[in-house]
């Protein structure tokens, strides 16, 4: 009989081992799967999509906001008369019938018909009460000022996973900040699918995107865009751009370019229009570079405003090349003030040769050429300076009057702003502050990029530029009573190894009022046809904008 006790004992032990093994299987091996199944049954994780941050101009107005739009979907199983449904939907949604019909697959429960439907259109469609029609709410980008500053802002498209993503400009540069983070909400539901209040837990992670507060002044941006549009039409130009910066802070006040695109319908435009030419296009600056080269020579103590040019009586020959003035007029023993006033190429050859290649490279580098300005926009191009060994005498001479060197408009504007800011060059920036989802504001400090020239040199150069405005080629268009410093630039366009004689890039760069500059502005007109010269095209456009700016700031005439 005794053998029965151990037998039962072994049996019970085996039974317990079996139970423990089974428990281990369900509670450890299969725990995750069961947990998932259970969660699905009594609720689950709800994905909370973050709202993309707004982009606001300096007056707090959102030039990029979000609007409610709807996606219309169909449940084909609920459709009674397919032909009638297709006909009504096609007419309401302004879509071809074939396109609507092709999407209605009978074996599906959910088919997308059209996205981007406005709230008012949704209301109209709902009134008809079509069977099987439903709507999903989405937030899409909304541009209250239409296509204003489009190339500065960029646009929001879709990435490879079909999610919103910012491209070019601010949308591209600050995509991560603007996007925010996806959050999850764990929610339990009852048998009817209603939420159970006691089991509600706080949201896991997630936050809306931050808002960008820009230095761009909406009124100035609007003004620049309008004036640029008018200027292009008036001077028969192929395109153009205007950039305005506050020299004291480096804040970009406006950046307009044309042709441009509409960010709300970006797919309808050629991709080449997406990039901002003010930061991506390179061109030979021509005479607008002269003040910077001369500022370098003044700063190095190689010349003074009264230094006379002893080679300016006629064309200058350098390494076998004859270098002329733009109008073939020559001024013997002209001084440096007159060299800028007449935009005298031979005078600038004199300055460049005095400066020498090493110092020329040094000053161009100090002015930021050959390096990125660091502006907070996606896609900045950085044309590099030639290496020292590639600088021949003729390169040095032509660089003196802005040929044989490539720059971007933003490089030029940044460098020129040093003249207006006592020789101190600020890093250009578009965003002045970020506002996170909780409303906390983080300011972006202004950064000093360098001091290419002394305060004294900047003041001397400013006076030379004021004289150029007062007595130069563009004097007919100057603003009476205001002291504005500026310089015209008519750059030739290199085509297949030579310069196109019939088309130019006309530009004017300047700042004002010179006693306390509020703005530095660069106006560029591409291939103007009414006149190839900047004094007849870019200069009047510059002064037209400048007059409005001075009015806007409430600055009275000083003389």
């Amino acid at each position: 009989m005794k053998w029965r006790y151990p037998l039962i004992f072994i049996f019970l032990v085996l039974l317990f081992v079996l139970i423990i093994a089974r428990l281990f299987y369900w509670q450890v091996v299969k725990a995750e799967m069961l947990s998932g199944l259970a969660q699905d049954q009594y609720g689950g994780l709800i994905r909370i999509e973050p709202e993309r941050g707004e982009v606001r101009t300096s007056d707090g107005f959102p030039i990029v906001a979000n609007k409610v739009s709807y996606l219309l979907y169909l449940n084909p199983t609920q459709i009674k008369d397919k032909n009638q449904e297709v006909q009504v939907l096609a007419s309401l949604l302004d879509m071809p019938k074939a396109s609507v019909s092709a999407q209605i697959l009978p074996d599906r429960l959910w088919v997308k018909i059209k996205s981007g439907i406005s709230a008012s259109d949704k209301g109209e469609i709902e009134k008809i009460k079509l069977p099987g029609v439903g709507f999903e709410e989405h937030y899409t980008r909304f541009y209250p000022e239409a296509s204003i500053a489009a190339q500065l802002i960029g646009f929001v498209g879709k990435n490879q996973e079909g999610q919103d993503m910012g491209y070019v400009g601010l949308e591209g540069f600050y995509n991560r900040l603007l996007s925010g983070k996806v959050g999850y909400l764990m929610e339990s539901t009852d048998a009817l699918g209603k939420p159970i209040i006691l089991s509600r837990k706080p949201t896991i992670g997630g936050s809306n995107g931050s808002n960008l507060l820009l230095s761009v002044d909406r009124s100035i941006q609007f003004l620049a865009e309008q004036k640029l549009k008018d200027g292009i039409e008036k001077y028969g130009a192929a395109g153009g751009m205007i950039g305005i910066i506050d020299p004291e802070t480096g804040n970009i006040l406006a950046m307009a370019s044309s042709p441009s695109f509409a960010p709300q319908e970006y797919w309808k435009y050629d991709e080449s229009l997406y990039s901002n030419p003010f930061i991506t296009n390179t061109y030979e600056p021509g005479s607008v570079l002269k003040p910077l080269v001369m500022a370098g020579a003044l700063d190095a103590g190689l010349i003074t405003p009264q230094t006379e040019c002893d080679i300016c009586g006629g064309p200058v020959s350098v390494s076998g090349y004859d270098l002329h003035t733009w109008n073939d007029k020559y001024y013997k023993n002209t001084n440096m003030i007159e060299v800028i006033q007449h935009s005298d190429n031979t005078g600038m050859v004199f300055v460049a040769l005095k400066l020498g290649a090493d110092r020329m490279i040094d000053y161009l580098t100090k002015f930021g050429f050959g390096q990125a300005t660091g502006i907070d926009l996606q896609g900045e191009t950085t044309p590099s300076l030639k290496s020292r060994s590639a600088w021949y005498d003729v390169d040095l001479a032509t660089t003196g009057f802005g040929q044989g060197i490539s720059v971007t408009p933003i490089e030029l504007l940044t460098a020129f702003s040093a003249l207006a800011n006592n020789g101190k060059m600020m890093q250009p920036k578009v965003v002045t502050a970020f506002e996170n989802a909780s409303g906390e504001i983080t300011k972006v400090p202004s950064v000093v990029k360098g001091q290419p020239i002394s305060e004294k040199t900047a003041k001397v150069m400013t006076e030379i530029l004021v004289n150029a405005v007062e007595k130069g080629e563009a004097q007919w268009t100057k603003l009476p009573g205001y002291r504005i410093a500026g310089k015209t630039g008519t750059a030739s366009i290199p085509v297949k190894g030579h310069y196109d004689p019939n088309s130019t890039i006309a530009s004017f760069i300047g700042f004002g009022p010179v006693d306390k500059p509020k703005f530095v502005m660069l106006v560029i007109l591409e291939k103007p046809t009414t006149s190839i010269y900047a004094a007849d095209t870019a200069a009047p456009l510059f002064f037209d904008v400048a007059r409005n700016l001075l009015n806007y700031y409430g600055i009275p005439p000083s003389e």
């Binding site: 107005f61 609007k67 709230a119 709410e137 909304f142 209250p144 239409a146 204003i148 939420p195 209040i197």
Partner: protein, 94 residues
């Protein structure tokens, strides 16, 4: 002995009253999900309305719209120059 008896009675009473309280509370809240759902729907509807109204306000206060309205009302900042290349008669016979 009496103290222990009182304590046991007290703890028993507390346990029963807490259990009853929990049952009452759970029963009351079990149907509150419906109201929570309704409230959430209402909040979402207000959010949507708010977004639609914001859109209208921004559109109305945009400089583009103001300029358009100003033009319609007859305001203009520029002199519109008209160039007539050919001479025109003062009056044209019908």
């Amino acid at each position: 002995m009496r103290k222990a008896y009182v304590l046991i009675i007290f703890l028993l009473g507390l346990t029963i009253s807490l259990s009853v309280g929990k049952a009452v509370l759970q029963n009351t809240l079990s149907t509150s999900g419906i109201f929570v759902g309704q409230a959430e729907q209402e909040i979402n509807s207000y959010k949507t309305q708010n977004a639609i109204l914001s859109e209208e306000v921004l559109t109305a206060s945009s400089l583009t719209n103001i300029m358009e309205k100003a033009k319609q009302s007859g305001f203009t900042s520029e002199n519109v120059l008209m160039v007539i290349n050919t001479s025109r008669p003062l009056a044209v016979k019908p």
